[in-house]
């Protein structure tokens, strides 16, 4: 079990941030920020929600514990005027998965980059920027990756129309 | 004008026409062989649509290439770009002038034949360098730079081997070299163990160097289609491209002819019977087949691997062979 030592560390940083709702939760309901979930039904072992300014800290914890970056992606919650940025990490020895979620405002979609910690985040962040227009502050090369270089649109935003 | 001179002139024209036709037909049909042989290796029929067994394929290819537009890239050095395909064919044809195909069929028999072939052989490299450089294409430029380094590296062991052979033959005259080897395969230079016990190895070195000199796989740095698109020929289209190919097969032919003459006894029958043109052609085509066979069996070498092979293996062996030959000649003759 590689997630056990991480849990308390995440809890320490998660409570310091502003709480954000989790997918599927009723509005206003209390949400645990560090959530152990069953792998068999979710595919995720630890579901962590942190605020945007704590994301680098959270990722550093995972980096120190030798977790592998799998993917970074976004979800557009149009009704809540929020973007959710999802970081997936897996451990090569145990196959456990930690998901770090960050909710940011849709009006000012900015959060710090983690590409200086995980080199692979460079492309994933560029891709997320392509699709959602989320700006990763401090990213060395935030230009379109999969979309044409002159693309000024973000196709995975729910209000995008071709 | 005396009748002798007229006779000489007629003879020259006949040979010229005859050999040009022979050389170009050979080059054309070697392209067919180059497509047929791998098809046999690769469990497929190869070209079979044009003519019986695809025999008219080279004609169709030629017509296709002639019909294509010749494109010149922007910024290319026009004169050199157009000149390079011509320059690459001419030495190949010129080399054939001095090759004795049999006792009687030899266009121009002169004393420095071997020297002349190597002189012109080096000329082809120059043409490829020009073509690659004049194309104003980065892939072509890289290929042009590679081909020079490669040919310098392989000229040395090749010439060292040939020099050791000249020690034995004591002549540059190709006709004489063949005549010295008459009377069965045990007289051929490749088995001339009295002169040097390393003669078979010398032949192997010659063969490898010939592959490299003619830019054939596994040393096809000049084309390297999976790295440099088409290398020095990337920008050539139509017959310009075709001429480079004609030159490649001409060079293979010349290389195999020289190998046959120097090591395999020319037109001599392996058992000392019935010498003649057919034996020369059989040996030459077997060598050509081996060249194609090697190409379709191996991956390409890396560039430094190729130079390592030359400087670390071929040149030491060729030098040892040279010393050994000199030593044995001094000892026994």
């Amino acid at each position: 079990m590689k997630i056990l030592p991480l849990k308390s560390k995440f809890e320490a940083i998660a409570v310091r941030g502003t709480p954000a709702p989790v997918v599927g939760a009723e509005a206003g309901a209390p949400v645990p920020l560090v959530n152990e979930t069953p792998h068999a039904t979710k595919g995720i072992d630890l579901d962590v929600t942190v605020s945007a300014e704590r994301v680098v800290e959270a990722v550093k914890i995972l980096d120190e514990a030798n977790w592998m970056l799998e993917a970074i992606t976004g979800v557009d919650w149009l009704a809540e005027r929020q973007f959710e940025v999802v970081y997936d990490f897996t451990h090569v020895d145990s196959g456990e998965r930690v998901t770090v979620r960050v909710r940011i405002s849709r009006d000012k979609p900015e959060l710090p980059t983690i590409s200086h910690i995980y080199g692979g985040a460079n492309w994933h962040e560029r891709e997320t920027h392509d699709f959602f227009g989320i700006i990763f502050l401090g990213h060395p090369q935030l230009i379109p990756l999969l979309l044409p270089e002159d693309a000024r649109f973000h196709p995975l935003r729910k209000d995008f129309t071709a | 004008m005396s009748s002798d001179m007229i006779m000489e002139l007629v003879r020259l024209i006949l040979y010229l026409v005859g050999f040009l036709a022979f050389a170009l037909l050979n080059a054309a049909y070697l392209t067919l062989v180059e497509r047929k042989v791998p098809s046999w290796f690769q469990l497929r029929p190869g070209p079979i649509e044009v003519g019986p067994w695809g025999l008219l394929q080279p004609v169709a290819d030629g017509i296709k290439l002639l019909g294509k537009q010749i494109l010149t890239p922007q910024g290319a050095d026009l004169i050199m770009f157009k000149l390079a395909p011509v320059m690459v064919v001419v030495p190949g044809v010129l080399c054939l002038v001095t090759i004795p195909f049999s006792e009687m069929i030899v266009p121009r028999n002169f004393n420095l034949g071997l020297l002349m072939i190597f002189a012109f052989g080096a000329f082809g490299v120059f043409a490829i360098l020009l073509g690659g450089w004049a194309s104003n294409n980065k892939y072509s430029s890289i290929a042009a730079a590679r081909v020079v380094a490669q040919n310098i590296a392989y000229e040395i062991p090749m010439l060292l081997v040939v020099i050791s052979l000249v020690f034995v033959t004591r002549t540059f005259n190709l006709h004489t070299i063949v005549e010295q080897q008459m009377g069965g395969f045990w007289h051929w230079n490749v088995l001339n163990l009295k002169a040097s016990i390393m003669m078979p190895i010398a032949f192997l070195i010659y063969f490898i160097c010939m592959l490299a000199e003619t830019n054939r796989a596994p040393f096809d740095m000049v084309e390297a289609e999976s790295e440099l698109v088409a290398g020095a020929f990337t920008e050539y289209s139509g017959m310009g491209f075709g001429l480079f190919f004609v030159a490649e097969y001409l060079n293979i032919m010349v290389g195999c002819c020289v190998g046959t003459i120097l090591f395999l006894g020319g037109w001599d029958c392996p058992f000392g019977l019935l010498p003649g043109l057919h034996w020369f052609l059989i040996k030459m085509y077997v060598l050509c087949f081996a060249v194609i066979w090697v190409r379709w069996s191996f991956p390409r070498t890396q560039f430094y691997g190729l130079l390592n092979l030359s400087w670390k293996i071929l040149i030491p062996f060729a030098l040892v062979n040279l010393l050994l030959t000199a030593f044995m000649l001094k000892l026994f003759h």
Partner: protein, 146 residues
């Protein structure tokens, strides 16, 4: 020094082995099929474009115009229409068009059909210079075939 020679001889040996392998393949039969002259028979499950199936007894298309295939198609390339004739128990087909330019040959339409009214044709060498040729009128096709 010994490794130097060993490497050369071992390298030469592996090259000879490689040449032997290609040479031995020479004597094997060709595995290719010379396409325009010969062709392979498609397997029974081969997914070509779809065709209407006719009822053996009546000779009419089995389709009951339930629109399941049209709904199931991910590319929206099936368009069908039907009308109920006077006194007929069910709707019968009046048009069935397949826009083959958009079809991805996934076979979801055939799977969705509860009446076995469409099947895969075994045609695989469709080619044309005109886009209109791929707006296939399958009803016309099946009537012409008879």
């Amino acid at each position: 020094m010994i490794t130097y020679f060993k490497e050369i001889f071992y390298g030469l040996y592996t090259l000879c082995v490689g040449m032997k392998i290609t040479f031995l393949h020479w004597f094997r039969p060709n595995v290719t099929v010379h396409y325009p002259r010969q062709s392979l028979k498609m397997t029974p499950r081969y997914r070509g474009h779809i065709d209407l199936t006719c009822d053996e007894a009546t000779g009419k298309p089995k389709c009951v115009v339930c629109m399941a295939c049209q709904r199931a198609c991910p590319s929206g390339c099936i368009k069908l229409d039907g009308a109920k004739a006077e006194g007929a128990p069910r709707k019968s087909l009046t048009s069935y068009t397949l826009d083959f330019t958009a079809c991805s040959l996934c076979g979801l339409c055939v799977e969705s059909c509860s009446f076995d009214a469409i099947h895969f044709s075994k045609e695989y060498n469709l080619a044309s210079r005109k886009k209109e040729d791929y707006k296939m009128d399958l009803l016309k096709r099946v009537l012409e075939k008879k």
